[in-house]
């Protein structure tokens, strides 16, 4: 539907939960992400907020490896927002 850099369409992403990982450095955003996903149901969407520079590559890599879909990604200054659909 749209590439990961395309932010159009992110406004219509309905998130089921938010994980605020701002202030945490690699690998903590990923570790917390993995733990949060365990509590959620298939098909739900998690919004992950991070300001760690590593997160920009870490999150897409995690998604591709675990089979969870990255449905949206935004960058606002230093903060990254990721929208992950749980498999």
């Amino acid at each position: 539907m749209h590439g990961s850099d395309n932010t159009a369409g992110v406004d219509v992403v309905e998130k089921d939960a938010t994980l605020d990982a701002k202030g945490l450095m690699c690998p903590m955003p990923i570790v917390q992400l993995a733990r949060k996903i365990k509590e959620m149901k298939s098909g739900q969407i998690l919004e992950l907020l991070a300001d760690d520079i590593g997160a920009k590559e870490d999150v897409p890599a995690w998604c591709s490896r675990t089979g969870n879909q990255l449905v949206g990604q935004e960058e606002d200054g230093k903060t990254f927002s990721f929208y992950i659909k749980i498999k």
Binding site: P27, M28, I30, V31, A34, R65
Partner: protein, 134 residues
Amino acid sequence: MTDKFCMVVSEGSFDKAMMPLIMGTTGASMGMEVHVFYTFFGLKLLKKGMKPKLPGMMRFFTGMMEKKMSKFKIPGYQEMMEQAKDLGVHFYACSTSMSLMGMKEADLMEGTKVLGASAFLNLAADSKMTLFIG
């Protein structure tokens, strides 16, 4: 099939202590099956309540390092260990090293399994990655 990720830890200083935990929790977060084998001087890292120190003379600066890590919200050794166990990382103590170091199973932290080299190599033989730390 789940990717296996094995690590061998043979030294017990603070830096060597954190590495397998950081990599292990990351691997486990990515769906890998992580196995960490502690041997020789790494074995003491599996002692209950262990507080590792920086190597050699730098050990006096461990407190400073811990403070800095805490400022960056990086979990300390014991906390990181709990997170690793929580994510399913497997911890093994080398049986021979235990005899050499005079350690008993009761000294080991909860959840540690005692394993010999052959059993560990059996795990590592078909793992995707095996790293040697220390």
